[in-house]
Symmetry: C2
Subunit: 303 residues, 2 copies
């Protein structure tokens, strides 16, 4: 299962309807959080089904609206006696800020917190997926993230295995696991009974940024992209001034990067007509929409 | 108008239904916040009518669940270009913590933030009310707060004024304002035409604490008391261990202090049967109830 839930879609300050930035990715039992604005722990509880215990947290940049929920979340996990180490990825200064506050508030944390300083490129390789980072244009140390599942083995063809004399049972399992088998005097390889490797699923999150050529390359072909859509086209001057994107700029980037689907987030409090924003975005990219809190997308496994 | 709104009633971690500690007092145009847990700025928006721009914030102690909403609230007020200085009262270390984080997150704050270190006794005297503090038994520097309106002038008796020859008009206003007037050759004093000074309204908030003799004295006679009711009677061992109160201990203190009404807050996530807690408390003090988020009480002006 690969499910992306947008937990907060407001920019800078929450509104009655929208919480501060956070995106949850549930993948085969792992929970990964991208940004963790104030109130994220409660948004996680209010999600359906509720979310808890992230394994990894990725912070895009050192602005309060994207990270002030970290401390309360850590404190709550401490109270629940979490034991598993927590890996947090983020820009310069994040580790010190977390350490300072846990010390000032005398939070006893019974699990290990490992804060990794992010730089562009590959930052995490798990058994079944990788996470990489790209610079964004927002602060002098801000990042976008991309998660890619590793390639999965190709489709197994039982009829080919049988034709080569491999009987159903443990030898099939061995072939499916990528290892050759011997039957009689013959060696049978996985390539003889399986199709080409299949691609995994992918997800991208921009944090706050102007659209850039680098980000277009970075997000190329992701199944789902959650991107800064702070403003409507009518405020493109503000987008340039405050280093954000309009929904039209985001849609153009998504279209050119050939992503599967685009969710626009980090919506300015200036915006009230979300349908108009969706119209603006869809004109450039039909699979674009303005996100709302708790919007959840399940990515199907590619054939 | 004097309205108390409980914005968050959970202990330690929020729940789906309950936010983290914060109590708002609106008094004749001033907004005072007591504690400011994570998510308070959004709870303020969700209150009916919405609340904004506190003039004073009082923090009871340096635990994250009581203050982690401060930074986001300050950031939002900065974005709204607040100009009025913000006075924050709290224990040792609070000022440094706020300064450190605003610096680390590069928040430009266009208004002055003055952090006052609290000690027991009078801490604030406004034209029409005072706020005082008392030590609580929770951390080594934790406080409860009490707000008292100053005495108001007594009732004005028009018939007495007329009998003394003071005609209706500006002279009455002068008398009502506490100044003597001269009519013909006679001096008429306010005491001759007005009743005794009338008491103002009062509010108390315990923060986290064991019940103590000092707090019983401190809260004596308040119209409304919001008090630590973390546990039911069945967890009185936990209340002692973690330096909180049971709802029965809180009700006993409220009864002995002859308060007008008691709201129990800071409810442990262990609690699920709130009606049972209310029953337990009401047995000791009939004007007790378990608070829920956004519960709002208007204190009438005493006759």
């Amino acid at each position: 299962m690969f499910r992306v839930t947008v937990l907060g879609t407001a920019a800078a300050s929450p509104t009655r309807e929208r919480g501060l930035p956070a995106v949850a990715v549930e993948r085969e039992g792992d929970l990964l959080l991208f940004d963790c604005g104030e109130g994220t722990q409660r948004q996680m509880m209010l999600a359906n089904p509720p979310l808890s215990n992230p394994r990894y947290i990725f912070v895009t940049h050192m602005h309060g609206d994207h990270l002030l929920g970290l401390l309360g979340l850590i404190q709550s996990m401490a109270l629940q006696n979490r034991e598993e180490p927590l890996h947090i990825y983020g820009p310069r200064g994040l580790g010190e800020m977390i350490r300072y506050n846990l010390e000032a508030l005398r939070v006893y944390v019974p699990f290990k917190i490992i804060v990794h300083r992010v730089r562009r490129g590959a930052i995490l390789s798990e058994r079944e997926y990788t996470v990489s980072a790209e610079r964004t244009i927002h602060t002098n140390d801000s990042y976008a993230y991309r998660l890619d599942e590793k390639k999965r083995p190709g489709k197994f063809y039982p009829e080919k295995a049988l034709a080569l004399g491999v009987p159903k049972g443990p030898l099939w399992k061995r072939l499916q696991g990528g290892r050759a088998v011997k039957v009689g005097g013959n060696r049978v390889t996985p390539a003889q009974v399986m199709g080409p490797k299949r691609r995994g699923r992918s997800f991208g999150y921009s944090g706050d940024t102007r659209p850039t050529k680098e980000l277009k390359g970075f997000f190329r072909g992701v199944d789902l992209l959650v991107f800064d859509g702070t403003y409507g086209e009518e405020h493109s001057d503000k987008a340039k001034e405050y280093l954000h994107s309009t929904v039209v700029e985001a849609a153009k980037l998504a279209s050119e990067a050939k992503v599967g689907r685009l969710l626009l987030t980090h919506l300015s409090a200036r915006v009230s007509d979300y349908e108009e924003l969706t119209r603006q975005a869809k004109k450039r990219f039909s699979r674009a929409e303005v996100a709302r809190d708790f919007l959840s997308v399940v990515l199907p496994l590619p054939e």
